[in-house]
Assembly symmetry: D2
Homo-oligomer: 354 residues x 4
């Protein structure tokens, strides 16, 4: 209700501000008997964490997750999984300068107006630090999904775009470059571009694409909880996301039905996949693919005019260690949210028929 | 859970198949004391209904809504509002030819696989007929929202696109043309284009844009139920939708932070509005605007190869009266879903502070 | 949220006032493939309906249910089941005398104060007419539960009490007498007593007991949604219910642990069953049994002083055809609510383990 | 869904096992701007905690709560309140003897069967230790409710019963005696009785009564979420509870309508209060009162025959430090759960009318 829970069966509730003592969450509805691969969870956390390369923020956060319940002798017990991640690097003084200042295109103004009282240290709850909890939950969801393979990658940074179907890409490249794109040449261009943008004290947007393979037929709950509707919500709930499209997406709007229809093979698979693996809100067994648009990070290391909470004009200058481009670190978040959506529907689908 | 409820406070649950005796729904959570404007509800129903112009399906459906509860002496009572819409035009025989056939890019295959048993008459539950119930609920939501003005319009049909900011458009044009676009000249071109497509027995996609004005600051519930995340889900749950973007959307991904940031005026309004009226998932008082991508309708009046439920190749030919382009009739549906999202958050926001 | 939905997976939402055109509901989450036994549903409706014997209200209501969706060729399809029951006997004029009057121990006062506007015809939404919808949904739930046997019966009418364990009773007696008690002699006494009370224009309370046999181990979702907690809520949500106890109940409070503990047999069954078939909120395979306390019906055919909505003293005299004792007709309602609780937990329990 | 969340607006989700590193929870939906009285929260924790007197368990648990989020500069911020309570006294070795043994009338058997894998240390999730989290959340809810006064007290221990209406009691006595009953003489008798029972290595049940004063009219959401239905669920979800009755309760079943009806005074108050402050599921402004039945604690310090997980007969002997009677420590838990129910409905009721 108040917006901090995701999912209906595999329910994840998170808490925490960027500069409080800790963030964390509760996963309620994880089936018992899953042998948790803690290392796999840590790997996902490492992919999201700051400081992993020269093109992301140089903040240092340990991001080490501690499980407090729901796991016994290595296996999930069916009871709620509580976890916390300590905030080891919360230098509140870094944020004294923005206490009364509304940073442009941040959530300072709206949080203040909505709640009348806000934690001004680094954005508080609106900080993307919260997504670390999503990655924890998503990493567990991935383990439940077993053979379903979720692969996200950066497909555009500013004007630099892969412009290739996912079928033409080599996914083994993704983790080999700091941009997390699926093409070695483009990776170098994108990396250089982000460095240039950073040097200017500026930031730039980008696109993450995601492909989900080996999806069983039947996931999704029409009419309101269509698979792509829930995927869209999941992605749009990630900080800085401005758009979502799946299958043919916006480019499908210029097509004719006679081109766009995916004709069947005799085994029920389809010859084309403009549908993006989803028909009528339900997975059809073909790969699901979608694009997620990220805006440029709002914190720039340039002087900007703005106002304070008294409505007075002030000047501000971004400080601290911020990402010049958010997409490399958002790749595991996209995967995590996709995993949460699929897990929920995979569990629910067990109840569709007698 | 099973996907037929939308909203958490102003909760709408719908039922009904295209060819059953009736469709309908229950609105639970509508505050008491609203003097219902039945005519306004009927007007919205007329905008959605088939047969209203030469460029939409020529099916005849009365689409007259009967309220069964929750309204007394003209006003809502706070108890659930039950309503039904009779299906007056369900010629089941029209659909005998598709009983065992999976129509390409329809939900026949996925519903059959998911549920093991489907109502094959016209798509059953996956038919867009269900959206009539959304329009009823949305029309009531609009009345609750009073001064909040929701305006949707067709901004593209195939390659024909308005290519203008909403600020440059004359919304008074929208209901004057059957396409529901906001430009008289473009309306004629689009209309002719849809007629041409129809003549070929084909269909085409399009884009609906929506602008919401006079929105109070504070709507939206981070971190998962951000205003734009819920809007995105709402739009993606509409039949044939493939994508959603708000504010700068996908085009924002190529911008720099220094360009994209919306600088404040002293009154808290912003000089630009790349944010699309939403910061951190919460409305900031600026106009909200977004685009919704619709694929071409899957039913075409051309011969198509396909398979039947035994996995055998068959040929099929679309019959009946279908929309060559779905966007003109989807305009009121987009508005209805936007109204449902805003109403839910407007009610919830009353509980944000002591 | 607004209180008209029961259940989390097998979700039942109802609407309707006693004197509107119809009542009805939507069941969302019923698995597909259930061959609906319509006759069994009608039988349950007959058990609840007015006018079936001399000791219940003589109102005439057809209570015939019409299914509008979710069922095709006799079987559930997995889509929402919409249904309506016409109100054929709503003589609004019967209620003109209470328009501005708050009847003692009715919900007139509280509904008026809460909503500021109420349907004064016969209690409107607070009328027990609404329970007809629960019986429809419960009858479907019973069919899903198959071998789980739910048996409710009247165990007390006023001071007349069976005072016997359910094991000592002959359940085949229940439907043979109009009181629905499980003992032929007591049935006659109770029947005569209700007739006497009726003659005096008065009403009397009673107790319904319920036994559930053949329950699989594992139903219930601790810690908040314990099986007995949800059963208690279900029963307390029925009109006129004042109390709920299961297993040893209130009489267990005077026992010692050494007496009360249910010792195990080697097969996991227990020698005694003070636990009432539930341990830690989860069914243990033993019979579940519980008691539900009903107050005397508030409408009496005697003059009573009361107040009107202006706070003025007035006299009122109950009119119309009311039940002198509500328990005989409430027996199928208790069973229906028990069936809804069990069905929800039975479905959820499929997701407990990998 | 999986049962670890209570409430729909003021939502409390808890996690934690008795012998894991910590228990805790998240409160989502607390309005911003509440100046948290931490001392008042600690006071409630002290009332629940073990070791506070000679008649309760002598386990030592610090039960000190740490808030991790949602509070800034002393006030709630509207973001989720995360909190943890360390388990300082978890001597797992105490429980080695029950690893494979199903203790009679405990949840060992049902948890094992439901989840196939359980935390056998002290009951794990089914331990009443979990209720510490409820007390934290309830203490915050109490602060939101301000003038609404919730008072619970022990009204019976075994056969020893107060047998007085709440109106005849002196609530100032409650915290003066370790039993938490509202009568000094009876307190001594009950205390002695509990000591005697303890000496025998046995346990005994009891009843807690609760009175809620200064309740505004209008709380409760018919038809399923009636105020008393939700109160009943809340109470029945507490460990060891076997029954719930409100107002006239089970004793109301032997009354006539002419006696039971609560006649109005001109100001809308009622001359009697058999209704227990609730009409039609909605508070009417009169005091709410109810009784909660607790069974004797299942752990007794006597030899008992039982079975192990292989279905073999074994003997067991309770060890450790257990409560001979649970009701003195359950008083703050009953109050906490009542506070959660009222807070939820108090918030929801703000949305009942335009």
């Amino acid at each position: 209700m108040a917006g901090n829970t995701f999912g209906s069966i595999f329910k994840v509730t998170t808490f925490g501000e960027s500069h409080g003592p800790a963030i964390g969450g509760i996963i309620d509805g994880c089936p018992s008997g899953l042998l948790l691969d803690i290392e796999a969870i840590n790997t996902e956390m490492q992919r999201r964490k700051p400081g992993q390369s020269a093109i992301v923020t140089q903040r240092k956060e340990e991001d080490s997750v501690q499980f407090l319940s729901g796991v016994f002798e290595g296996k999930t017990t069916g009871t709620p999984i509580g976890f916390v991640i300590q905030n080891t690097n919360h230098k509140s003084k870094d944020y004294a300068h923005i206490k009364d200042t509304y940073r442009p295109s941040h959530a300072d103004f709206t949080f203040d107006k909505k709640y009348g009282h806000r934690d001004y240290r680094g954005g508080g709850r609106s900080s993307a630090r919260e997504t670390a909890c999503r990655v924890v939950a998503g990493a567990i969801a991935k383990q439940l999904l077993k053979d379903i393979k979720i692969t996200a990658y950066v497909s555009a940074v500013g004007e630099l775009s892969l412009n290739k179907s996912y079928k033409a890409l080599d996914f083994s490249e993704i983790e080999k470059n700091p941009v997390r794109t699926a093409d070695a040449d483009m990776a170098k261009q994108m990396e250089q571009y982000i460095k240039d943008v950073k040097k200017q004290g500026d930031t730039v947007g980008g696109i993450i694409s995601c492909v989900i393979e080996n999806v069983p037929v039947g996931l999704g709950e029409p009419v309101f909880d269509k698979l792509h509707a829930q995927l869209g919500k999941a992605m749009l709930s990630i900080n800085a996301v401005k758009g979502f499209e799946y299958g043919s997406g916006f480019s499908g709007t210029v097509m004719k039905g006679s081109e766009h229809n995916d004709l069947f093979n005799e085994d029920g698979s389809t010859k084309t996949n403009y549908s993006g693996g989803i028909q009528g809100g339900i997975s059809n067994g073909e790969p699901i693919y979608f694009n997620v648009a990220f805006k440029p990070v709002a914190t720039i290391l340039q002087k900007q005019p703005t106002i304070n909470s008294d409505g007075e004009k002030v000047e501000m200058m971004g400080k601290g260690r911020h990402d010049p481009c958010v997409v490399p670190r958002a790749v595991p978040i996209v995967e995590a949210m996709a995993a949460l959506v699929l897990t929920d529907f995979w569990l629910l689908n067990k109840l569709s028929t007698l």
